[in-house]
Amino acid sequence: MDPDAVAKAFVEHYYSTFDTNRAGLANLYQESSMLSFEGQKIQGSQSITAKLTSLPFQQCQHAITTVDCQPSGPAGGMLVFVSGNLQLAGEQHPLKFSQMFHLMPTPQGSFYVLNDIFRLNYA
Protein backbone atom coordinates (compact mmCIF):
# COMPACT_ATOMS: atom_id res chain seq x y z
CA MET A 1 0.00 0.00 0.00
CA ASP A 2 1.36 3.40 -1.00
CA PRO A 3 1.95 5.43 2.19
CA ASP A 4 1.18 8.72 0.45
CA ALA A 5 -2.14 7.36 -0.73
CA VAL A 6 -2.91 6.10 2.78
CA ALA A 7 -2.10 9.48 4.31
CA LYS A 8 -4.15 11.36 1.75
CA ALA A 9 -7.12 9.03 2.20
CA PHE A 10 -6.93 9.35 5.97
CA VAL A 11 -6.77 13.15 5.84
CA GLU A 12 -9.75 13.36 3.51
CA HIS A 13 -11.75 10.97 5.67
CA TYR A 14 -10.80 12.71 8.93
CA TYR A 15 -11.73 16.24 7.85
CA SER A 16 -14.88 15.29 5.96
CA THR A 17 -16.04 13.42 9.08
CA PHE A 18 -15.11 16.42 11.21
CA ASP A 19 -17.05 18.76 8.92
CA THR A 20 -20.18 16.65 8.39
CA ASN A 21 -20.49 14.17 11.29
CA ARG A 22 -18.18 15.22 14.09
CA ALA A 23 -19.36 12.50 16.50
CA GLY A 24 -18.20 9.96 13.92
CA LEU A 25 -14.60 10.85 14.77
CA ALA A 26 -14.92 8.52 17.78
CA ASN A 27 -14.16 5.55 15.48
CA LEU A 28 -10.75 6.97 14.68
CA TYR A 29 -9.49 7.02 18.28
CA GLN A 30 -8.90 4.34 20.92
CA GLU A 31 -8.38 4.34 24.67
CA SER A 32 -4.66 4.95 24.26
CA SER A 33 -5.15 7.92 21.92
CA MET A 34 -3.87 11.34 22.95
CA LEU A 35 -4.98 14.75 21.69
CA SER A 36 -3.29 18.08 22.39
CA PHE A 37 -5.74 20.74 21.27
CA GLU A 38 -4.30 24.25 21.50
CA GLY A 39 -2.18 23.02 24.40
CA GLN A 40 -4.99 21.19 26.24
CA LYS A 41 -4.23 17.49 26.73
CA ILE A 42 -6.96 14.90 26.43
CA GLN A 43 -6.72 11.10 26.46
CA GLY A 44 -9.01 8.33 25.25
CA SER A 45 -11.63 8.18 22.51
CA GLN A 46 -14.53 9.20 24.73
CA SER A 47 -12.89 12.32 26.16
CA ILE A 48 -11.41 13.30 22.81
CA THR A 49 -14.76 13.01 21.06
CA ALA A 50 -16.41 15.00 23.85
CA LYS A 51 -13.84 17.75 23.37
CA LEU A 52 -14.23 17.87 19.59
CA THR A 53 -18.03 17.81 19.64
CA SER A 54 -18.16 20.56 22.27
CA LEU A 55 -15.98 23.05 20.36
CA PRO A 56 -17.74 26.43 20.25
CA PHE A 57 -18.92 26.26 16.65
CA GLN A 58 -21.50 24.18 14.85
CA GLN A 59 -20.54 24.31 11.23
CA CYS A 60 -17.04 24.35 9.87
CA GLN A 61 -15.09 23.48 6.77
CA HIS A 62 -11.46 22.42 6.61
CA ALA A 63 -9.52 23.23 3.41
CA ILE A 64 -6.22 21.35 3.34
CA THR A 65 -3.14 23.03 1.86
CA THR A 66 -0.31 20.54 2.53
CA VAL A 67 -0.04 16.90 3.61
CA ASP A 68 3.36 15.36 4.41
CA CYS A 69 3.82 11.82 5.66
CA GLN A 70 6.59 9.50 6.83
CA PRO A 71 6.64 5.97 8.26
CA SER A 72 7.26 6.13 12.00
CA GLY A 73 8.97 2.80 12.62
CA PRO A 74 8.80 -1.01 12.37
CA ALA A 75 5.26 -1.28 13.79
CA GLY A 76 3.74 0.11 10.58
CA GLY A 77 2.86 3.51 12.06
CA MET A 78 2.63 6.64 9.95
CA LEU A 79 3.18 10.29 10.82
CA VAL A 80 1.03 12.78 8.93
CA PHE A 81 1.66 16.54 9.02
CA VAL A 82 -1.13 18.77 7.74
CA SER A 83 -1.61 22.48 7.21
CA GLY A 84 -4.71 24.25 6.02
CA ASN A 85 -7.57 26.62 6.70
CA LEU A 86 -10.60 26.26 8.94
CA GLN A 87 -13.65 28.27 7.89
CA LEU A 88 -16.25 28.72 10.58
CA ALA A 89 -19.84 29.51 9.58
CA GLY A 90 -20.51 33.18 10.00
CA GLU A 91 -16.87 34.20 10.30
CA GLN A 92 -15.40 36.41 7.60
CA HIS A 93 -11.84 35.09 7.65
CA PRO A 94 -10.70 31.47 7.84
CA LEU A 95 -8.35 30.38 10.62
CA LYS A 96 -5.03 28.87 9.62
CA PHE A 97 -4.00 25.67 11.39
CA SER A 98 -1.39 22.92 11.50
CA GLN A 99 -2.01 19.42 12.79
CA MET A 100 -0.01 16.23 13.16
CA PHE A 101 -1.35 12.69 13.44
CA HIS A 102 0.49 9.50 14.36
CA LEU A 103 -1.53 6.69 12.83
CA MET A 104 -1.20 3.07 13.93
CA PRO A 105 -2.54 0.08 12.01
CA THR A 106 -5.52 -1.87 13.33
CA PRO A 107 -5.78 -5.65 12.98
CA GLN A 108 -8.63 -5.07 10.52
CA GLY A 109 -6.34 -3.31 8.04
CA SER A 110 -7.21 0.32 8.73
CA PHE A 111 -5.62 2.95 10.99
CA TYR A 112 -6.46 4.69 14.23
CA VAL A 113 -5.06 7.94 15.62
CA LEU A 114 -2.62 7.32 18.45
CA ASN A 115 -1.25 10.89 18.66
CA ASP A 116 -3.03 14.04 17.54
CA ILE A 117 -1.69 17.58 18.01
CA PHE A 118 -3.61 20.64 16.74
CA ARG A 119 -2.50 24.27 16.70
CA LEU A 120 -3.96 27.37 15.13
CA ASN A 121 -1.38 29.45 13.25
CA TYR A 122 -1.95 33.01 14.37
CA ALA A 123 -0.72 35.95 12.33
Binding site: S32, M34, S36, G39, K41, T66, D68, Q70, P71, S72, G73, A75, G77, L79, F81, S83, K96, S98, M100, H102, M104, L114, N115, I117, R119, N121, A123
Partner: protein, 125 residues
Protein backbone atom coordinates in the same frame (compact mmCIF):
# COMPACT_ATOMS: atom_id res chain seq x y z
CA UNK B 1 5.15 10.69 32.82
CA UNK B 2 3.29 13.50 31.10
CA UNK B 3 5.56 16.17 32.52
CA UNK B 4 8.63 14.15 31.68
CA UNK B 5 7.63 13.98 28.04
CA UNK B 6 7.05 17.73 27.99
CA UNK B 7 10.49 18.29 29.52
CA UNK B 8 12.13 16.07 26.92
CA UNK B 9 10.34 17.92 24.12
CA UNK B 10 11.24 21.34 25.42
CA UNK B 11 14.88 20.43 26.09
CA UNK B 12 15.21 18.93 22.64
CA UNK B 13 13.63 21.94 20.94
CA UNK B 14 15.91 24.37 22.78
CA UNK B 15 18.95 22.32 21.81
CA UNK B 16 17.91 21.76 18.20
CA UNK B 17 17.22 25.38 17.34
CA UNK B 18 20.23 26.63 19.27
CA UNK B 19 22.41 24.36 17.15
CA UNK B 20 20.58 25.36 13.99
CA UNK B 21 21.10 29.06 14.68
CA UNK B 22 24.67 28.91 16.01
CA UNK B 23 26.42 25.83 14.67
CA UNK B 24 24.33 24.32 11.91
CA UNK B 25 26.90 21.70 10.92
CA UNK B 26 26.49 20.13 14.37
CA UNK B 27 22.86 19.22 13.65
CA UNK B 28 24.23 16.08 12.05
CA UNK B 29 24.73 14.66 15.55
CA UNK B 30 20.95 14.50 16.01
CA UNK B 31 20.22 12.26 13.01
CA UNK B 32 21.00 8.62 12.18
CA UNK B 33 21.05 6.60 8.93
CA UNK B 34 17.35 5.77 9.27
CA UNK B 35 16.34 9.40 9.84
CA UNK B 36 13.91 11.05 7.43
CA UNK B 37 13.40 14.75 6.75
CA UNK B 38 10.60 16.28 4.69
CA UNK B 39 11.52 19.91 4.10
CA UNK B 40 8.83 21.94 2.34
CA UNK B 41 7.68 18.74 0.66
CA UNK B 42 11.15 17.54 -0.35
CA UNK B 43 12.04 14.12 1.09
CA UNK B 44 15.53 13.39 2.30
CA UNK B 45 16.87 10.35 4.13
CA UNK B 46 20.01 9.63 6.14
CA UNK B 47 22.55 11.71 7.99
CA UNK B 48 24.66 12.81 5.02
CA UNK B 49 21.82 13.98 2.80
CA UNK B 50 19.95 15.65 5.64
CA UNK B 51 23.08 17.45 6.75
CA UNK B 52 23.79 18.55 3.19
CA UNK B 53 20.28 19.90 2.79
CA UNK B 54 20.30 21.88 6.03
CA UNK B 55 23.79 23.26 5.44
CA UNK B 56 22.93 24.33 1.89
CA UNK B 57 19.80 26.32 2.73
CA UNK B 58 20.10 29.71 1.03
CA UNK B 59 20.87 31.75 4.12
CA UNK B 60 23.82 31.94 6.48
CA UNK B 61 22.44 33.54 9.59
CA UNK B 62 19.05 32.85 11.04
CA UNK B 63 17.19 32.87 14.33
CA UNK B 64 14.31 30.67 15.35
CA UNK B 65 11.83 32.07 17.87
CA UNK B 66 9.59 29.33 19.23
CA UNK B 67 5.93 30.07 20.05
CA UNK B 68 4.53 26.65 20.99
CA UNK B 69 5.90 23.18 21.83
CA UNK B 70 3.55 20.21 22.30
CA UNK B 71 4.87 16.72 23.13
CA UNK B 72 3.32 13.28 23.49
CA UNK B 73 4.71 9.76 24.00
CA UNK B 74 4.70 7.95 20.65
CA UNK B 75 4.20 4.29 21.67
CA UNK B 76 7.73 3.23 20.76
CA UNK B 77 9.76 2.52 23.88
CA UNK B 78 10.46 6.00 25.12
CA UNK B 79 9.67 7.69 21.78
CA UNK B 80 8.30 11.25 21.78
CA UNK B 81 6.46 13.21 19.10
CA UNK B 82 7.09 16.97 19.32
CA UNK B 83 5.10 19.63 17.45
CA UNK B 84 6.59 23.11 17.20
CA UNK B 85 5.41 26.43 15.83
CA UNK B 86 7.36 29.64 15.66
CA UNK B 87 9.07 32.26 13.53
CA UNK B 88 12.29 32.15 11.55
CA UNK B 89 14.10 35.46 11.17
CA UNK B 90 16.58 35.52 8.32
CA UNK B 91 19.44 37.97 8.45
CA UNK B 92 18.70 40.95 6.25
CA UNK B 93 15.02 40.14 5.80
CA UNK B 94 12.47 42.57 7.16
CA UNK B 95 9.73 40.10 8.11
CA UNK B 96 10.13 36.76 9.90
CA UNK B 97 8.79 33.59 8.30
CA UNK B 98 6.29 31.57 10.29
CA UNK B 99 6.79 27.82 10.40
CA UNK B 100 5.55 24.57 11.91
CA UNK B 101 7.72 21.52 12.45
CA UNK B 102 7.24 18.05 13.89
CA UNK B 103 9.88 15.67 15.23
CA UNK B 104 9.68 12.01 16.24
CA UNK B 105 12.44 11.41 18.78
CA UNK B 106 13.78 7.96 19.66
CA UNK B 107 16.05 7.29 22.65
CA UNK B 108 19.65 6.53 21.72
CA UNK B 109 20.19 4.30 24.72
CA UNK B 110 22.85 6.66 26.06
CA UNK B 111 20.38 8.99 27.71
CA UNK B 112 19.71 11.25 24.73
CA UNK B 113 17.45 11.22 21.66
CA UNK B 114 17.90 11.21 17.93
CA UNK B 115 15.49 12.48 15.29
CA UNK B 116 13.89 9.58 13.44
CA UNK B 117 11.28 11.74 11.65
CA UNK B 118 11.40 15.46 10.89
CA UNK B 119 8.87 17.46 8.86
CA UNK B 120 9.12 21.21 8.27
CA UNK B 121 6.63 23.60 6.63
CA UNK B 122 6.53 27.35 6.31
CA UNK B 123 3.15 28.85 7.21
CA UNK B 124 2.40 31.43 4.57
CA UNK B 125 0.15 34.37 5.29
Amino acid sequence: MEEQVEMVGKAFVDHYYHLFDNNRTELVSLYQPTSMLTFEGQRIQGVDDISAKLNQLPFDQCRHVISTVDSQPSAFAGGVVVFVSGCLQLHGEEHPLRFSQMFHLIPTGQGSYFVQNDMFRLNYG
